[in-house]
Symmetry: none
Subunit: 247 residues, 2 copies
DNA sequence: GGCCTAGGTAACAGCGTGTAACAGAACCCC
DNA sequence: GGGGTTCTGTTACACGCTGTTACCTAGGCC
């Protein structure tokens, strides 16, 4: 059972880093690239299951690179683009991209599409890939990422809202690491939904969100065992997290 | 990489010429045909990668021709039609057309679809690729595309309306991929019925339609397992779809 | 203790989604 | 063609989600 290896190709270091980190948090091996030559290095040095390719790469069109890659190899490609105009979309499909996502995109959308493309690829080849991490256990709790269900130590189901789920995921991915509100916010931008509060000021939203999550997963929200406050810093997820995956 | 060879089948010389020229301008080898016999000539004399087939061909239905071709060869077919009446559309899918476009169509859309079909065909040609897809299984359900019947896990029949069927097909074709209302609407324009709501604003129609479909194919419509909502994004068909064909 | 600051949280508002009800269109059967 | 039935988009309302605000408490420092 192999973990899928993805190339993240973007010439903007920040985007590249964020994407890479995000994909790694979601169970993939993500390899950052910033040019066609680094892509070829990676292709030459090992298996690559999927390429996430920015449409604009320096002064060259990713589309052209995609076309060249296609003519040589059979690696699935998802084009990522800030250009949403339809002719660009068309151009993407023309060169045989397996999918096309316009920036700014919802990271979950990206994740879903990545999985869908890998899934299809798996179907039509012998590639096996690990389904992304699907269950987390922490302090008697159980989170099923696939069904998005949270089960308490006593066995009853707790329904979390979307943002609460996203927040929980952030903590599950960073146990015992104190996170600032800033960091949490950035992480939510990536794992949660990326549209609204990206710009700087989290306000008190994180505090309120933490409070709500506490209300659902703490035995006594007044005395938090899991989501501890670090005054002047932020919050820590203070218990061990055991990660498992299906089959 | 060889240039795809397409047959353009239309008995109207003007349409045929326009289409042929357009496709040639876009890098294809387009071979005009005006009857079933000329199609067979072409099929006999060399490789054909795709057939663009007009639904009305003289006094005969292109659908019938499609059906005959299907039973003999494994060439992808896109049906092109001025007939928007639904039974014609359905008939197109029944005979296993890979896609169906209603006139008047956006040439770029046609182009994109041609390329998509060719791409699919190329991808899966190494496997056994059969076209007469006729049944889909998903989460215990069973959809018979040929008879347009939906059977529940418990075995009872559910009758879907035309639009509901079209919506289901859209999701069956895009499992695990979050679709925006916009995308669903566009897809319905093409696979469902193309006349009315093409222009931009889906309003709440998609939501209502999804709700109605849920009411029919979800065990508990209040807790959707198949048609999941992605707040701020759209809807996802959240189970695997297994495609089978008869014979 | 007095003061200041950080964090907890109730209340509110805005927004997205679910859905019942309605009306017009399409269809069907006679 | 007429009348009933089904389909389907629109509308309106309810409800849950989520960020903001305001107020309060807790902690830290003098």
């Amino acid at each position: 059972m192999t973990i899928p290896r993805l190339l993240v190709v973007d010439d903007d270091a920040e985007t590249r880093g964020m994407l890479t980190q995000f994909l790694r948090q979601n169970g993939f091996i993500a390899l950052p690239c910033d040019s066609e030559s680094t892509i070829r290095d990676q292709l030459g040095s090992g298996r690559v299951d999927l390429i996430l390719l920015d449409v604009m790469l320096g002064d060259e069109y990713g589309v052209d690179i995609c076309k060249r890659l296609r003519s040589e190899q059979d690696v699935p490609v998802i084009l990522v683009s800030a250009l949403s105009a339809d002719h660009h979309r068309m151009a993407g499909y023309e060169v045989g991209a397996d999918d096309y996502i316009a920036k700014p995109f919802n990271p979950n959308l990206l994740l879903a599409r990545v999985k869908a493309v890998l899934h299809r690829a798996k179907r039509s080849s012998s590639l096996t890939y690990r389904r992304s991490i699907s269950t987390f256990r922490f302090g008697g709790w159980w989170y099923d990422a696939k069904r998005d269900e949270v089960t308490s130590p006593q066995g009853y189901q707790v329904s979390l809202s979307r943002k609460e789920t996203a927040l929980l995921k952030v903590f599950l991915g960073n146990p015992h690491i104190p996170l600032t509100r800033e960091e949490i916010n950035t992480a939510l931008d990536v794992t949660g939904d990326g549209q609204d509060l990206g710009s700087g000021n989290p306000g008190r939203a994180i505090d309120v969100l933490v409070g709500r999550l506490r209300g659902k997963i703490e035995a006594d929200p007044k005395i938090p065992e899991l989501l501890r406050t670090q005054r002047g810093v932020g919050y820590v997820f203070a218990v061990d997290v055991v990660v498992e995956d299906d089959q």
